[in-house]
């Protein structure tokens, strides 16, 4: 019999501190589904997804039952559709999104990611068609998630794509205006996007990945916060050590679940994404961890340093607990999905500018940020450019998931529902970036010497 206190600790982590496995994501390659006939390509895609993922939800539920730990999401990521669809002559890829949506519904997963294009160095024919299809694709489907990679450390930043995506985000918001412009919550613009991210909305199955793999995304901000409550006032060495130990424990459970899912589905294990992913529920917030470290409110001076330490300690603890680590791995800061961040924004403590600084040291970017519906497309493009620059220069992944909520302005809130939460409308800089964005072209890749 295991140590009595260890058993109680595990049970408390799950019952009281909301420890869960955030997602089991099956990555499926669609490279063999290309066809010159779009209809036939879509039939191949539907058949492949519904065959490989037919038991995904059932296996996830069986593991929940066996270990008594919730597995919140079962999801699918696929090869970026722009690569698959451009073999055909279709001039619109909305039908591909509808096929993904139908396949997701048939197997019972709540999101499918990969309505994506990788355009960091330039557009192919299919990339352009896919990006133009995004607003309608996200408006007519329920479960499809989209992402576009616009920059990388090796390629620089595609400023044509940055310009176009500002407009695409505005169009997506307009087409889903009856539902708080929620289409934009399913669209991420990345720099240095990773091939094996299991988290939505930015998941896709990279072309260097195997035929079919299982990735697991862990969670557990509540567990880290409770662990830190026991070391109040102690130096940062102790704080970092406590976070590492906690991350280790959380990740070990993720590895257990990943091994089991991989074995039961007969699909190789891919990676564990070591992420602290918050939810809008009280006690499941990354912001509250930062406050537990000693900040009065998330967003005040010191937040960037606290987040940097948290992010690093989570990785250090998690790496040893897992055989393969990947994905985004770190602390997420999605504003509308984090109860503490929502509160901090409402108090005026947390602004877009501070969030931008935070994204320099954490695993993602400006995530689930609701802004006024009348924000110009060029301002949104400029926000994307700033984030992409942070990612490209610092050799890390950054992303922007921003929602210009039609009809809402400062002081309002957008209610996205479920895990997407509630987004207080945040202030954007009122001065224009129009001429900057109108230039287009490509920002060259950065030099990797003379680092200062």
């Amino acid at each position: 019999m295991n140590n009595f206190n260890n058993i109680l600790e595990t049970i408390n982590m799950i019952e009281r501190d909301k420890l869960d496995i955030r997602t089991i994501t099956m990555g499926i390659s669609l490279l063999d589904c290309c066809d010159t006939n779009g209809e036939i390509a879509r039939q191949k895609i539907y058949k492949k997804i519904t065959t490989l993922a037919k038991d995904l939800v059932k296996v996830g539920e069986d593991i929940e039952e066996k270990y008594g730990i919730p597995i919140i999401n079962k999801r699918i990521s696929v090869t970026p559709i722009a690569m698959i669809a451009q073999a055909c002559d279709d001039e619109d890829y909305v039908a591909f999104a509808q096929t993904l949506d139908a396949a997701a519904k048939a197997v019972g997963v709540n999101f499918i990611g990969g309505f994506s294009a990788l355009v960091q160095k330039g557009y192919t024919k299919g990339d352009k068609i896919l990006i133009e299809s995004i607003p309608r694709a996200l408006a007519v489907t329920d479960r499809v998630c989209s992402s576009v990679n616009v920059g990388s450390t090796k390629a620089g930043i595609n400023m044509d794509a940055v310009r176009d995506l500002g407009r695409i985000i505005k169009e997506t918001a307009a087409l889903t205006k009856d539902h708080e412009s929620i289409g934009c919550a399913k669209l991420v613009v990345f720099a240095n996007a990773v091939d094996d991210n299991p988290f939505m909305a930015g998941a896709f199955h990279g072309v260097t990945e195997a035929e079919c793999v299982i990735h697991v995304g862990i969670s557990g901000p509540g567990v880290v916060k409770v662990a830190l409550e026991k070391v109040k006032g102690q130096p940062f060495d102790v704080v970092a050590e406590t976070i590492k130990k906690t991350a280790f424990k959380i990740t070990r459970v993720g590895q257990l679940v990943a091994n089991e899912a991989s074995e039961k589905l007969g699909v190789p294990f891919g990676i564990i994404d070591l992420s602290l992913a918050p939810t809008p529920a009280v006690g499941d917030s990354v912001a509250r961890i930062l406050e537990e470290i000693g900040l009065e409110v998330c967003g005040c001076h010191g937040t960037t340093a606290a987040l940097a330490m948290l992010n690093d300690a989570v990785k250090k603890g998690g790496v040893m607990a897992s055989s393969h680590v990947g994905g985004l791995s770190g602390a997420f800061v999605p504003v509308s999905e984090d109860e503490g961040m929502i509160a901090a924004v409402k108090m005026g403590a947390l602004t877009i500018d501070k969030l931008e600084a935070m994204t320099c040291v954490c695993s993602v970017g400006l995530d689930m940020i609701a802004v006024p519906g009348d924000t110009p497309a060029s301002t949104i493009s400029a926000i994307i450019a700033d984030e992409a620059a942070i990612g490209v220069i610092n050799n890390k992944t950054t992303g922007v998931r921003i929602i210009p909520v039609v009809g809402k302005s400062l002081g309002d809130e957008a209610e996205f529902g479920g895990l997407l939460g509630t987004g207080p409308i945040m202030k954007v800089n009122p001065f224009s970036s129009e001429a900057f964005i109108a230039r287009g072209g490509r920002i060259p890749a950065p030099i990797h010497s003379f680092k200062n």
């Binding site: 019999m1 295991n2 058993i7 039952e65 008594g68 070990r252």
Partner: protein
Amino acid sequence: MNAYVSVMGMDKKGIIKAVATVLSDNGVNILDINQTIVRGCFTMVMFVDLSDLTTDLAGLKANLAIPADAMNLRIKVQHDAIFSAMHTV
């Protein structure tokens, strides 16, 4: 398969009897028991062998839910691997 049955709630007479009866009725062998009461709060962890289980895991949990509801307890059944994974390197 070995598992842990954890029982938590306010202390009262007959908890162990009620839980052990359900386990016995479902073919579960109890290998070890650890139990404590802190400020009236009853906590028990049983290490059990499920190899002769006469129902499935969901069925056992449903049967344990009957005394849990009647006596206002929280009863969980979890495979032992989750505890070993978390607490041993």
